[in-house]
């Protein structure tokens, strides 16, 4: 029963909330640029329109091209099941392993890159090649950060990490958590393909990565791709907020009210992070593609520092 509830809550919350994050980020950027900007819910409208549109499919492409959106979407949503939005609701048996989460997302990326190559278009190939490079560069820092957090909770289970973090007081006060948190900020920026790694708004081939990959998509396929992208972004954000800023004041409370309250707090925290991301996007410019590795190295160093701190502090 609780499992069912958990799944339901997860799917609903994350799918519904995901586009909003983008909205918030866009809004913040617009305001800082003295523009009115698009409404918060703009993305919902876009998706709705795209759903209605008919899809244009390149005749070069194969079944992989059409299967990819669904696979990517489902992997993203499945990943969403791995990171509880609120630790108040727990499933009976929780198979939410962080490493599996990463490799699950890898499945989606695998197909996305293939789809980029499938249409034999230059843009697609370019995007795929760049995506492959960036993702493989980010992989070590993600794993190391996750492992470091996992070491503290003596397990690589996401749920364990979160609950342990709750008892750790204010985690961000702790050096390990702090450093890893910084590492994670970089990771989020990269994974959700934002400035300085990638520019979601551009259509200039020099700067395109993610956009280039899905350039051939249209209609509902495009909608699914966009949606799963933001879902992935939200998954990472959720991971971060529930580990690094847990709402431990709710420990012990039970009942629907508590859950609602925790969800509310969760939404607030998500918005905070989105603003943070927006600030990063505003304050930096897009890097050259070949200086992305520096960023990856930075995040890896941060996570590795975290690990070293763990070695020193936890004995």
């Amino acid at each position: 029963m609780s499992t069912f509830v958990y799944i339901l809550v997860q799917i609903l919350v994350i799918i519904l909330l995901a586009p909003l994050v983008n909205g918030v980020i866009q809004k913040v950027k617009a305001l800082t640029q003295k523009r009115k900007g698009a409404p918060l819910l703009q993305m919902y409208f876009d998706l709705r329109k795209l759903f209605h549109k008919s899809a244009v499919v390149s005749e070069v492409s194969s079944w992989i091209f059409k299967a990819t959106p669904y696979i990517v979407f489902s992997t993203a949503v499945t990943a969403a099941l791995f990171v509880p939005v609120s630790t108040m609701i727990t499933p009976a048996a929780f198979p939410g392993d962080a490493i599996m989460l990463i490799y699950l997302l890898a499945l989606g990326r695998f197909f996305m890159v293939l789809a980029g190559l499938d249409t034999a278009s230059t843009f697609g190939g370019m995007g795929s090649s760049r995506e492959a490079m960036i993702s493989s560069l980010m992989e070590p820092s993600i794993i190391v950060s996750v492992i470091t957090i996992g070491l503290i909770s003596k397990s690589t289970s996401v749920y364990q990490m979160m609950t342990t973090a709750q008892f750790a007081g204010l985690p961000l006060a702790h050096p390990v958590y702090l450093v890893v948190f910084l590492a994670f900020l970089v990771i989020i920026v990269t994974e959700s393909s934002r400035i300085p790694v990638d520019d979601p708004a551009t259509h200039l081939e020099l700067t395109m990565v993610h956009e280039a990959m899905i350039l051939e998509y249209s209609g509902r396929h495009l909608a699914l791709m966009e949606l799963s992208a933001v879902i992935k972004q939200l998954v990472f954000i959720t991971f971060v907020v529930n580990i690094f800023m847990p709402h431990d004041q709710l420990i012990g409370m039970v009942g629907i009210g508590a859950i609602m309250l925790s969800l509310l707090i969760y939404v607030l925290k998500v918005i905070v992070i989105s603003v943070l991301i927006a600030v990063i996007e505003i304050s930096t410019v897009k890097f050259r593609l070949l200086s992305v590795p520096n960023l990856a190295a930075l995040s890896f160093i941060l996570s590795f520092l975290g690990f070293l701190n763990y070695l020193v502090l936890w004995r």
Binding site: V57, V60, S74, L104, L117, V144, S155, L311
Partner: protein
């Protein structure tokens, strides 16, 4: 049962010599016999593992020559490797029925099948050898037979060179093994593998460890002893390279486990750490080089190096754990590495078969010539996709489970108080992550470039239909990959017996049975993965997505159109990304490793803006060949020539002088003694 298997292989060999004249017949018959043998072997090994009794003595024959004897013994470890061998042989033999048809009336198929069967048999004997001498004999025989298979298509220069390099490297490795066995004998006075090694003093054990590591490492193709592998695997015909990469290099892993873990029990932590480091280097460099290859089979060969590295990482952790007699962790890591061995046998075998299918139908191994094959060979393409997913360790295929176990054992190996070890472990984790990601990129490239997009040359346009048997062979392997990914516990039970022999602790019981496979790092019930649940949830969500679409968007309307070409109007295959281009960013980032060299040839036209033709050639530099092996060879060569000419001068006076000098020297010796 095992005896029958051996006999079957033997008679397959004999028959293929007898029926040498009729190519079609001999091919089908001998392969069918091999299939039967493989089925029998599978059954026998499974029975052996499941059933209680530990060791079966198969055959014993002592000859008049001292120490030369035939002695087959099968315990759980052997049985497990026999299982892997049999499964792969089953699929490869089915595949070969169709595949060998391109040899008909071109080559001596009978001889080919003879070598094929005897090669399988020799590997079988290596795995089941009961004493070191017989192990050695089988080992060398295996090397020679595989050499013949490598040079079977001997017209091409590069095949000859590959064969020569291979046989030399493997023989040098074997020399180390020989010395190791000698040391073993000179202390224990017996070659019995199952005997005890207590008589051997510590320093000798260390020496033996190094010798065995080098000897088996050469066969396994760990860096820096890997140079033979990328040239030998492509040279062999594809079903054979599947066997070589699937089983032959695993016999080295078997040797490491058998002689280091079972025979000399682990002595020092540094053994494990050394193996761990070698594994890390092999994993990262192997896949890094694979990424730059455009020849499919060379790519696969390099990726074999990477997987050997992953296996060695697991093995290293288990060595460390056993050295600190943390039995449970040791068992877990051993299980992880053995399971990865098994998985690699499955998907790498499959990948080589797929590469063979591509070569069979397009007559090229060069990715730059391929493209769009998914429409011509849909079934093969699908299987290749499965294998590629499996080897890039993505959910829900078997590659992921073993890599996850490796992660977990490394994770559990990090415990407060031993800083150095922890650094090593975290670095290994990093290397594992990096190699995993690069592997994904590498196989995306493999599949995407050769199967998707538009054909890049005529090779990929007119494509020969491939026989159904080839697809069947691959299909079975693909099924195994998925099954091992979804019900890992079933296969882990097989591996488990080995760890049980060694430690007395059963790992599979600690891993929650049934649908879930879970592992409790430290007493808390912690991280656990459930591939099956993934397999249930993902389709459900896909369904849900469909419904969502239907609900919101209404009926699905599709419009076919050309790929967006910026209005250029003539979209052709040369516009798409090439294999070289795909990996360019990584090549630039890791230029320190690759040292890429690029050459432009521009034919100027009327104006500099419209050159008539541009040739662009980029090549990466093989570091080890250039800086390690070539200088060594050069030096030896010069030395040899110099000595030869200065000793064998051709002047008889010199020769008589030698005699005089020898006489005087001996007289002196006699006076002084």
């Amino acid at each position: 049962m095992f005896q029958v298997t051996i006999l079957l292989y033997l008679c397959a060999a004999v028959i293929s010599l007898v029926l040498m004249k009729n190519h079609k017949l001999v091919n089908i018959v001998s392969n069918i016999i091999c299939i039967a043998a493989a089925l029998l072997g599978t059954a026998a090994s499974i029975i052996q593992i499941i059933s209680g009794h530990d060791v079966i003595n198969l055959a014993i024959f002592d000859s008049q020559i001292p120490f030369i004897s035939i002695n087959l013994v099968i315990d759980h470890l052997s049985a497990f490797f026999v299982l892997g061998l049999s499964i792969l042989v089953l699929c490869v033999s089915i595949y070969s029925i169709g595949y060998n048809s391109h040899y008909y009336d071109k080559r001596n198929v009978g001889l080919y099948n003879f070598l094929y069967a005897t090669f399988i048999l020799s590997m079988f004997l290596v795995i089941t050898a009961g004493n070191a001498v017989f192990f050695f004999i089988a080992w060398e025989t295996m090397a020679v037979l595989s050499y013949f298979l490598v040079v079977f298509e001997s017209e091409q220069e590069e095949n000859q060179r590959a064969g020569t390099l291979y046989i030399i490297m493997t023989h040098l490795g074997t020399a180390f093994l020989l010395i190791g066995f000698m040391v073993m004998f000179s202390y224990t006075h017996s070659f019995d593998i199952f005997g005890s090694s207590d008589a051997i003093p510590g320093f000798a054990k260390n020496i033996m460890f190094v010798l065995f590591l080098i000897g088996f490492g050469t066969k396994a193709g760990v860096i820096p002893f890997h140079i033979w592998l990328p040239s030998a695997h492509p040279a062999a015909s594809s079903n054979v390279s599947a066997l070589m990469s699937g089983i032959m290099i695993k016999t080295a892993i078997y040797g490491l486990i058998r002689f280091l873990l079972f025979y000399l029990h682990i002595q020092h932590t540094w053994w494990g750490i050394l193996i761990l480091c070698i594994g890390v280097v092999s994993a990262v460099l192997g896949i890094a080089y694979a990424l730059m290859e455009n020849n499919i089979k060379r790519l696969l060969a390099f990726s074999s190096i990477e997987n050997i590295g992953v296996i060695l990482i697991g093995l290293g952790v288990s060595f460390i754990a056993f050295a600190q007699n943390n039995l449970f962790l040791g068992g877990l890591a051993l299980t992880a590495s053995l399971f990865h061995t098994f998985n690699h046998t499955l998907f790498k075998g499959g990948l080589f078969l797929g590469a063979g299918a591509i070569q069979y139908s397009t007559h090229t191994k060069d990715m730059e010539q391929l493209g769009g094959l998914i429409k011509k060979l849909p079934v093969t393409a699908f299987f290749m996709l499965c294998f590629s997913l499996a080897i890039s360790a993505v959910v829900p295929f078997n590659g992921f489970v073993s890599e996850w176990l490796t992660y977990q054992s490394l994770f559990a190996n990090i415990s407060p108080g031993q800083a150095g070890m922890n650094i090593v472990s975290i670095l290994s984790i990093t290397a594992l992550a990096l190699s995993g990601a690069l592997a994904a990129a590498c196989f995306v490239k493999l599949f995407g470039i050769s199967f998707l997009g538009l054909p890049r040359s005529d090779y990929a346009v007119d494509v020969k239909k491939i026989p159904v048997t080839m697809n069947i062979g691959m299909g079975i392997l693909a099924t195994f990959c998925l099954a091992a990914g979804i019900f890992p516990i079933v296969f882990l039970k097989m591996v488990d017996k080995v760890a049980l022999d060694l430690t007395g602790i059963s790992i599979a019981d600690q891993l929650q049975g049934g649908f879930f496979i879970a592992y409790y790092p430290l007493d808390i019930s912690g991280s656990s993965i459930s591939p099956i649940s993934i397999l249930i949830i993902v389709p459900l969500i896909i369904l849900f997505a469909f419904l969502l679409m239907r609900l919101i968007g209404g009926k699905y309307v599709e419009r076919k159109s050309g790929t967006w070409d910026c209005g250029f109007g003539k979209h052709n295959s040369r516009m798409q990304y090439s294999a070289t281009g795909f990996t360019k960013p990584l090549r630039i980032i890791f230029r320190i490793l690759y040292r890429p060299k690029r050459e432009f040839e521009i034919e100027q036209g009327r104006s500099p803006y419209f050159p008539t033709s541009i040739k662009y050639k980029v090549s990466t530099e093989p570091i080890f060949e250039k800086y390690l092996y070539n200088p060594m060879l050069h030096f030896i060569n010069n030395f040899s020539i110099k000595t030869k000419l200065s000793i064998q001068t051709g002047s008889i006076h010199m020769y008589l002088l030698y005699i005089l000098v020898t006489v005087l020297a001996l007289m002196l010796y006699n006076r002084l003694v």
